[in-house]
């Protein structure tokens, strides 16, 4: 099945053209975990601080089962 991945801040160094308006479309098997996708994309799990699946905060062991899910990945960020 197909899902969409968005990466932000320093994670864009690996995928400079991927953003909120231009997500990365990838083909996955239903039921694989977020952590497997993170590794497949070439990131270390320690680089990822916040994971949103369809806008909801999840952990890296969450399984992706819904077609056309949107996975958003963030490194640690702050500001104010």
């Amino acid at each position: 099945m197909e899902i969409y991945v968005k990466v932000f801040a320093t994670l864009r160094k690996k995928y400079p053209d991927i953003n909120d308006l231009n997500p990365l479309k990838i083909e996955i098997e239903s039921g694989i975990s977020v952590s497997q996708i993170i590794v497949k994309l070439g990131y270390a799990l320690t680089e990822i601080h916040l994971i949103l699946l369809n806008g909801k905060k999840v952990d890296s062991e969450t399984l992706i089962e819904e077609e056309e899910s949107i996975l958003s990945l963030f490194p640690p960020v702050g500001g104010g």
Binding site: A9, F74, V77, G80
Partner: protein
């Protein structure tokens, strides 16, 4: 150390005074000491029969204070900041308060003064210089009417001091616009509650400072070893070592938007569909020239930026910060970063608070959407959400109180009251709220409601825990305690005075490690947190004198009653009363007023 300057602008009298060690131990410096001075001043006025809450914020009776703290200007990282306060804000009627980066705080310290207290009002435009230990007042007629950049260059040239620190007002402050700021380093601002208008009402255009008095450190060796450790911690921390240096504060645009609490269309929604175009990543890729750290900063979140083409081409400016991008861009529903940069530039040079400017324009857009602004008031101006040109135009007009710009400068509370729908003002105690919708992070709602200066995020930045950390953002449980701790710790940081961003990497224990060797006094972490609590409470007692109580600790009705219509925070409202009751209980407050027992416990009786 510990020397202050008191300036009476009516008599031109200037005298030094010193603060008792007992007072410093209780209030540290910076904001804490400023609150203490304002309290003493207000109490003195009351003894003369003055009703504090009836004082006109723009009258000579208002007091203006510039304060550094024991950490300011030392080798401790990120210590170039200072705090500015006034007894009353012309925007809100509550206390006036703003904390700013740049270098002015450190440079004031190098003059040998820890702070300046300004009273009364000058007859004609005036500026103050403190150079090589000598304080002098000068005629400022020739710079009255100049913007902050022009004023700063003029004074550096006139005094032949290329590296002097300059705090000044732009035209907005001169024109007594209630959301005017006090600028320093051209692009840094004591940015909220209209302190620039207070300075303008006193006809004080600028303060130029330079000297070579290095702050004294009680235990030099221990201090230097701790500085080294703290710098390492800041560099190793992914937020202060990587996220903030790489993208600045604007990195938050996408993360807050993706979580569905990026208020847009005057808080009618929490997701901006084209936020990517005004994000920190876009700023870095397309408009960034370089970073611009404040004095002594090891993080360097400040941005030097430019726009190379288009209507809003500009060769050099700074920022914009996350909050400015949100207010001028997100809240107004625009997607043109060049317009945001231009409007933010106008706020800097003319001296206005971009949060209040952008939020008030957004409120005007909603008033217009609902047909509440008569056509003759707009004179053909297109106030639709998403119109970037009108945001830039109104920002300029607000500083000069021209046409409909008059109402933008007055702030959303007065404007929405004038046009018959006060509920469209997204403000608390008259201060426009910043860039996080509390329907998507409940703790920040409690903080907005209870912050002494009004709708403010940096009084208690619970977003660090609720969005950037692991605390459940939607629950109200535990948010009272979270908010209280954030608020009291922040009071300590603003009294020290150094940068709040340090707290992403450094905690109370590190503040003990900073303050002990500098002052030579012993503290525990708990004592320092109690000091923060003391300062928060005395500030609260002061706003009680100004007429603010529990009824004012609230949020706009939209956040309490209207469910977030879409996105990741869909369906949420804020159950403020539950959090507030628990918060008052923890604080020892009754209806927003510290109880006699709490006042005694904190040594404030």
């Amino acid at each position: 150390m510990n020397k202050w300057l008191k300036v009476n602008l009516a008599t031109n009298e200037m005298k030094d005074f010193f603060v008792l060690e007992e007072t410093l131990r209780k209030f540290i410096g910076g904001k804490g000491l400023a609150v203490y001075f304002l309290w003493e001043y207000a109490t003195g006025l009351e003894e003369k029969g003055v009703v504090i809450k009836d004082i006109d914020p723009l009258s000579p009776e208002n007091m203006l204070i510039f304060a550094t703290g024991p950490v300011t200007g030392t080798k401790s990282p990120n210590s170039g900041r200072h705090h500015v306060m006034s007894l009353k804000s012309p925007l809100t009627g509550s206390i006036g308060s703003g904390n700013t980066g740049g270098n002015w705080g450190a440079k004031l310290k190098f003059t040998g003064y820890d702070g300046i207290m300004i009273i009364d009002k000058a007859e004609k435009p005036t500026y103050l210089s403190i150079i090589d230990g000598k304080a002098e007042l000068h005629d400022a007629t020739e710079i009255w009417g100049k913007n902050s950049v022009e004023t700063s260059s003029f004074l550096r040239k006139k005094h032949d001091r290329k590296r002097a620190g300059i705090s000044c007002i732009g035209q907005a402050g001169e024109n007594l616009v209630p959301m005017a700021v006090i600028m320093n380093e051209e692009h840094r601002a004591a940015g909220r509650t209209g302190l620039g208008a207070v300075m303008g009402s006193k006809k004080l255009k600028a303060i130029i400072v330079e000297g070579d008095n290095k702050p004294k450190i009680a235990k030099q060796e221990e201090f230097e070893s701790k500085v080294k450790e703290h710098v390492e911690k800041l560099k190793e921390n992914p937020v202060t070592g990587q996220g903030l240096p790489e993208y600045g504060t604007a990195v938050l645009v996408n993360i807050i938007n993706q979580n569905g609490l990026f208020p847009t269309h005057n808080w009618q929604k929490g997701v901006h569909k084209e936020a990517e175009k005004i994000s920190g990543e876009t700023l870095t890729e397309q408009y960034l020239i370089n970073k611009h750290p404040c004095w002594g900063c090891v993080v360097a979140c400040g941005r030097k930026s430019r726009v190379d083409s288009g209507n809003y081409k500009i060769t050099y400016t700074e920022g914009p910060e996350y909050e400015s991008i949100w207010a001028l861009g997100g809240s107004t529903g625009i997607n043109d970063m060049t317009a945001v940069i231009r409007a933010n530039h106008y706020c800097d040079i003319l001296g206005m608070d971009p949060i209040s400017v952008g939020s008030t324009i957004a409120a005007a857009m909603e008033l217009n959407e609902k047909g509440l602004i008569p056509e003759e008031d707009l004179q053909g101006m297109n106030l639709e959400f998403g119109n970037s040109d009108v945001v830039v135009e109104l920002t300029w007009m607000a500083a000069f109180r021209q046409g409909f710009g008059y109402w933008i400068g007055e702030g959303s509370k007065r404007m929405c009251q004038h046009y018959g729908n006060p509920d469209l003002s997204m403000a608390v105690k008259g201060l426009e709220m910043p860039a996080y919708d509390p329907r998507g992070a409940k703790g920040i709602g409690l903080n907005y409601a209870t912050a002494n200066r009004g709708g403010c995020h940096v009084t208690g930045y619970t977003i660090a825990a609720e969005i950037l950390g692991d605390v459940d953002r939607f629950t109200v449980e535990g948010k009272a305690e979270l908010t209280k701790i954030f608020q009291d710790f922040t009071s300590l940081v603003n009294s020290s005075v150094n940068c709040l961003f340090l707290t992403f990497a450094l905690g109370l224990d590190e503040y003990v490690e900073m303050l002990e060797p500098i002052t030579g006094w012993e503290f525990t972490a708990d004592e320092l947190l109690e000091t923060g609590e003391r300062i928060t409470n005395l500030e609260r007692m002061l706003i009680n004198k100004l007429g603010f109580t529990g009824k004012d600790d609230t949020l706009p009705k939209r956040l309490l009653n209207e469910q977030m219509p879409e996105g990741p925070s869909e369906g949420q409202t804020v159950d403020l009363e539950t959090m507030k009751a628990e918060y008052y209980e923890l604080r020892g407050w009754v209806d927003g007023i510290p109880s006699p027992e709490k006042i005694q416990e904190l040594g404030l009786d």
